[in-house]
C-alpha cells in the first residue's frame, strides 16, 4: 500500500531568496547597507591587509608597491609573537567551553519556561548584562578580584589565606572577564535552538525507555548542536579579538594578539607590523568559521 501526501507542519517553508526579494527591485533596499559595508568595513580591511605586506617603517602609513613577507616571517619566527597566536586560540577555546557549560543550563531553563512573566524576567537578567559598557563591567570585576578586592580581603579576613590569591593580571583573570562578556551571546544563541526542539521528541525518547539523562544525551543534545556550534563560534571570535578585557584584566601581562596590535600601532607607530598581526588574527577567525562549518555538516549527519 502506498501512502502519499499528508505532509505535516513543523517544517520551515522552502522559499528562495530571489522570490522573497521579488526579483531585482527589492535589492535596492539592501543597497545602502551594502555601500556602508563596502565603505566602512571592506575598504579599511583590505587596505590594512595590503599594508601588512609593506616593510615596517615606524610612523609611516603610506601603502607602497614594494611587497614583502618580512612582517609575517617575524611573527612566525619570534616566540613572543607566535606563542601569542596559540595563547589567543587557547583562551578562545577555553572561554567558549566555559561559556557553553555555564550557558547551556541557563538557556535550557529559559527555553523551557513557559510562564510569560518568569520568562521575561530571565531574559532581562541575560540582556541587562549587555546593556553596560564593557569597560565599566571590567572595573566592576577588578573591584571584586584585585589583590585588595572583595574576594581576597574576605579570604584574608577569614584567615583562610595570608597572601592574596593571584586572581587578576593573569590568564585566569582574562578568562573570567571574557566569560562574563560573552556568556549572554552564548545563551542567546542557544535559546532559540533549544526552544525549537519539540517537547514530544524528549517524551518519545522517554517512553521508548530512555532515562532523563539518556533522552538528553541522545535527543536534546544532538539537536542542540547548531546552537552550540554557532554560540561557540561567536564566543570564540569575540574572545580572540577582544582588546579591552585582556588589557584591563590581564594588565598587559597576558600577551594576546589584540594587545600586540595595539602596542605596535598605538605605541610604536609600526602600522605595517601591526597590520600583519591583525591579518593573522583575521585568518584565525576565518579558520574558526571553516571549522564551524565542517562541524555543522558533520554533526547534522549530512542532512543539510
Amino acid at each position: 500500500m502506498s501512502v502519499t501526501g499528508g505532509r505535516i507542519a513543523l517544517r520551515r517553508p522552502a522559499f528562495s531568496v530571489a522570490e522573497a526579494f521579488g526579483g531585482f527591485r527589492l535589492w535596492w533596499l539592501v543597497l545602502p547597507a551594502f555601500l556602508f559595508f563596502l565603505a566602512f568595513f571592506l575598504v579599511p580591511l583590505v587596505s590594512l591587509l595590503a599594508i601588512s605586506f609593506n616593510k615596517t617603517v615606524p610612523g609611516v602609513v603610506t601603502l607602497t608597491t614594494a611587497f614583502t613577507l618580512d612582517n609575517f616571517e617575524r611573527i612566525f619566527t619570534r616566540s613572543i609573537y607566535y606563542s601569542s597566536i596559540l595563547r589567543s586560540i587557547g583562551i578562545g577555546i577555553v572561554v567558549a567551553a566555559i561559556a557553553l557549560i555555564l550557558g547551556y543550563p541557563l538557556a535550557y531553563l529559559i527555553a523551557k519556561t513557559e510562564h510569560p512573566g518568569r520568562n521575561t524576567l530571565l531574559m532581562i537578567l541575560v540582556l541587562s548584562s549587555m546593556q553596560l559598557d564593557m569597560v565599566i563591567r571590567m572595573y566592576g570585576l577588578m573591584v571584586l578580584m584585585g589583590d585588595t578586592g572583595l574576594i581576597n580581603s574576605a579570604l584574608i579576613w577569614a584567615g583562610l589565606i595570608h597572601e592574596p590569591l593571584p586572581l587578576m593580571y593573569n590568564t585566569f583573570g582574562v578568562v573570567v572577564g571574557l566569560v562574563q562578556v560573552t556568556l549572554p551571546f552564548m545563551v542567546l544563541s542557544l535559546i532559540g535552538i533549544i526552544r525549537a526542539i519539540h517537547p514530544s521528541l524528549e517524551e518519545a525518547a522517554r517512553s521508548l525507555g530512555a532515562s532523563r539523562a539518556e533522552a538528553f544525551r541522545k535527543v536534546v543534545l544532538p539537536l542542540s548542536m547548531p546552537g552550540i556550534l554557532a554560540g561557540s563560534l561567536l564566543v570564540f571570535a569575540l574572545s580572540i579579538s577582544s582588546y579591552v578585557v585582556p588589557a584591563l584584566m590581564g594588565g598587559w601581562k597576558v600577551m594576546v594578539l589584540p594587545i600586540h596590535i595595539y602596542q605596535q600601532i598605538a605605541e610604536s607607530g609600526r602600522w605595517q607590523f601591526g597590520a600583519a598581526v591583525a591579518a593573522v588574527l583575521f585568518v584565525t577567525s576565518l579558520i574558526a568559521v571553516f571549522v564551524y562549518h565542517r562541524a555543522a555538516v558533520w554533526t547534522s549527519g549530512g542532512r543539510t
Binding site: 501526501g5 499528508g6 514530544s200 521528541l201 517524551e203 522517554r206 521508548l208 542532512r303
Partner: protein, 355 residues
C-alpha cells in the same frame, strides 16, 4: 481481567481540575477511545498514563502493578504523538532501533527486528530516509513501528490522525485498527473526532469538563446517550422539550405539546418534571415510511438538501425546527418545500433525558 485501571485519577492545576476522579477499566487487547472536545482532559489523562504528568491524586494500574509513581521509561508503554515526534537527526532505521538499543539488544537482532517492523508497517526500503523526506502518513507509520518494535504492554495514540488530510485519514483509520486487532495490543486512543472513535473503538469513554460522562460501546454511545452533552457531541440530534407523564415499564411516557408518546428513558426521570426528548435525524420517519407505533405529528417541509447518499430535510413542527435525513435509495419518497406531511419515529429510537 483488566489491563489498565484508573482509580479516582485527578489532576489539578491551581484552582481548576484538568482531570477529575476518572475511574476506568480497560480490558486486555481492547481498543479504548477517550473522546471529547479540546480541553476536556482526555490528553491529560493519556499523558498521566504515559507518565509525563504526575497525577494530583488517584492511581494507575497496569495489570496488577501500580505504576503511578514510575517514570515513563519504566512503564513499558508506547505512545504515538499527534506530530509523530520522529527524531530528525536519525534516519528511519535509527529511529526504529532507538528503543532496542536502549535495551542493549545485540546488533544483528536489532537489524532483524527493524526490518520486520518496516515490513509490518509497509515501509520496506525506507531505512535511510530522514523525517523531512517522509510524508505525514509515512511518519506516522515510522512512529508506530518505533513503538511496536519494543513490544510495549500498552499502546497510547494521541490524536494520531488529526495532522493528516481527509483521504489519508480514512485509510489510516482502518489500517491502524487492523494492525491493533492483529497484534491484540491494549490501546488507548485519544481523539476529538467522533467518526474515528465510532469506527475504531471497542469502547468509548466520552469526556467533558475534566470528567468521564459516559462509557460504552460505539453503539451504546450513539444510540443510548446518557446526557445531552453526549447527544450533541456525537452526531446531530433533534432535542425537544417534553414533560414526563409517567413510567411505563422500561419506557417512559412523555408529553410533547399535549401529544403523549413513549420513549426510552433513564430510571431517574420523575413524573411531572421537564425533560428533553432526543431523536437522531435518520430516525425521523416521514410519509409512507411511518411505522405502526410512535407519535404522529404534523409538520411542514422548509427545505430539502440533496447530499448524494442522503437527502436532508429541514422541517417545521409547531414552533420548532426538526432535521430529518433519509437514505437516497431507489423509489425513495421525496418532499418538496412547503409540503404538509406527517412525521414520527419509533419509540425505541427516541431517548428522554434529564433536562
Amino acid at each position: 481481567m483488566s489491563d489498565i485501571r484508573l482509580v479516582n485519577l485527578t489532576k489539578s492545576y491551581g484552582e481548576g481540575n484538568a482531570v477529575s476522579e476518572v475511574n476506568l477499566e480497560i480490558g486486555e487487547g481492547e481498543f479504548f477511545s477517550l473522546l471529547g472536545p479540546s480541553g476536556c482532559g482526555k490528553s491529560t489523562t493519556l499523558r498521566m498514563i504515559a507518565g509525563f504528568i504526575r497525577p494530583t491524586s488517584g492511581q494507575i494500574f497496569v495489570g496488577r502493578d501500580d505504576i503511578t509513581a514510575l517514570p515513563p521509561e519504566r512503564r513499558d508503554i508506547g505512545i504515538v504523538f499527534q506530530n509523530y515526534a520522529i527524531f530528525p537527526h536519525m534516519n528511519v532505521a535509527e529511529n526504529i532501533a532507538f528503543g532496542l538499543k536502549l535495551r542493549k539488544m545485540p546488533k544483528a537482532e536489532i537489524a532483524r527486528r527493524v526490518e520486520a517492523a518496516l515490513k509490518q508497517v509497509g515501509l520496506v526500503g525506507y531505512d535511510d530516509r530522514y523525517q523531512r523526506q517522509l510524508s505525514g502518513g509515512e511518519q506516522q507509520r515510522v512512529a508506530l513501528a518505533r513503538v511496536l518494535v519494543t513490544e510495549p504492554r500498552i499502546l497510547l495514540l494521541d490524536e494520531p490522525l488529526s495532522a493528516l488530510d481527509k483521504g489519508l485519514r480514512e485509510e489510516m483509520k482502518f489500517w491502524i485498527k487492523d494492525l491493533q486487532k492483529k497484534l491484540r495490543i491494549t490501546t488507548v486512543y485519544v481523539t476529538h473526532d467522533q467518526d474515528e472513535a465510532l469506527t475504531m473503538s471497542d469502547r468509548i469513554g466520552v469526556m467533558s469538563k475534566s470528567r468521564i460522562v459516559q462509557i460504552g460501546t460505539p453503539q451504546d454511545i450513539y444510540e443510548r446517550p446518557k446526557t445531552l452533552f453526549v447527544t450533541s457531541f456525537i452526531g446531530h440530534s433533534n432535542v425537544m422539550d417534553v414533560t414526563v407523564a409517567r413510567r411505563d415499564g422500561d419506557m417512559v411516557v412523555v408529553s410533547l405539546d399535549g401529544h403523549e408518546m413513549s420513549a426510552r428513558g433513564a430510571a431517574d426521570l420523575q413524573p411531572g418534571t421537564q425533560a428533553k426528548l432526543v431523536v437522531r435525524p435518520e430516525n425521523i420517519l416521514m410519509g409512507a415510511a411511518l411505522g405502526e407505533t410512535g407519535p404522529r405529528l404534523a409538520a411542514t417541509v422548509l427545505s430539502e438538501t440533496y447530499q448524494g447518499a442522503i437527502v436532508r430535510y429541514r422541517l417545521k413542527r409547531g414552533s420548532q425546527e426538526i432535521v430529518a435525513e433519509r437514505q437516497n435509495q431507489a423509489h425513495v419518497e421525496r418532499f418538496a418545500p412547503g409540503t404538509e406531511i406527517t412525521i414520527g419515529w419509533d419509540p425505541g429510537w427516541s431517548e428522554a433525558l434529564t433536562a
